[in-house]
Symmetry: C2
Subunit: 190 residues, 2 copies
DNA sequence: CTACCAGCTTAACATACATCAAGCATTAGT
DNA sequence: ACTAATGCTTGATGTATGTTAAGCTGGTAG
């Protein structure tokens, strides 16, 4: 049941059996169906979620009512409204299942306690956020410097599993394009 | 000499006198003149820098030879090629002084040791990177969803000190615009 | 004082992408 | 099997921004 997430963590830090037990002790399973919302704006975000199985998106709805996908998450990824989670603000994002999904919920308060007891975990999550930070930096460069076509090709290279799995209009949205534009771009590429 | 950075850190974690001493013991002062480079691509990045006084930019030069500013830094900010610093890759960015500047250099190896001895510092830097992460997320949303005018206004609101201090063509570059376009935008606003 | 140069502006034209509107598959529900 | 919904494509037109080229201003070096 927990072997997947323990493997995932063991890629960055090594844990004794009792530390593993202590960690899995603060997790709880959460199932969510396609189109259901895990988080919506205004929520207090006490948890982040590890994806055991499935696919989700986190998106922001702007004042004109348009949605902007910030992040996808598939197996082995973490998802939440991290801004709200870290800074303890009300959520600004929706997090929604694109497929029926199985998640492990990790509670902030329990995580803070875990940091005190086993500082290695602070390290693990610092590494995770650091990687996320680097990925965001890359994405900013792309969005400022590259054309839609270049961004699409980069996306296909970086996240081939996601490109195969989610509808094109989601990818277009993530890339900051309209579906019609992505369609034309894809046409040029064939 | 170190009171500025100690105040800065004390906003997030509280330190005993001996912890302060231990921290300042691993810092070293670095002065850099306008137009000098602190980091350039290919460098091994062993340090991050706290800005005591001055103004710098971190930028990426793409394959076409165009520069893209990732980050400005003024007093009380941290700057480096964080991707290179965290992941121990060769630098991909230039970091250059826009004004004569005084920095405090913090060495990665010493910082790792400090983390072991005083885990509070791991907390401090996790908080810093988290804030940076949130700022990047906001910037991505802006770059994907907003017009140049909106991004410029947002920049002026968020970083008024920087807007006053650096040439417009730097700001245009940061916003992903050409100086001519920013000029048009500014004209419309008057 | 003069000449230069950095920083900013302006104008004419080009281009990538958005918008609007429609149509066409494929899949899923009844 | 029929219908509706979903996802994708296409065409005509509009708009924001890029490109190119030039000129203006204020400060600074000689």
């Amino acid at each position: 049941m927990y072997s997947q997430i323990l493997d995932h963590i063991s890629r960055d830090i090594s844990l004794t059996p009792s530390e593993k037990e202590e960690f899995t002790g603060i997790l709880s399973e959460k199932k969510i169906l396609k189109k259901e919302l895990l988080i919506l704006p205004g929520d207090k975000v006490n948890s982040e979620y590890y994806v055991v199985k499935g696919c989700l998106k986190a998106y922001y709805r702007d004042h004109t009512g348009e949605d902007h996908i910030i992040q996808f998450a598939i197996e082995d990824w973490w998802i939440s409204d991290f801004e709200a989670f870290f800074q303890e603000n009300p959520a600004e994002l929706y997090v929604e299942a694109i497929e029926d999904s199985v998640l492990l919920k990790l509670d902030k308060a329990a995580l803070e306690l875990l940091y005190r007891r086993i500082p290695k975990f602070e390290r693990f999550f610092r590494l995770k956020i650091t990687n996320a930070f680097v990925a965001l930096r890359t994405r900013i460069l792309s969005s400022l410097q590259k054309t839609g076509k270049e961004r699409y090709l980069e996306f296909c290279r970086t996240y081939p599993q996601i490109e195969k799995r989610v509808p094109n209009y989601h990818i277009a949205n993530y890339l900051g394009l309209k579906p019609e534009s992505l369609s034309r771009i894809r046409k040029e590429l064939t």
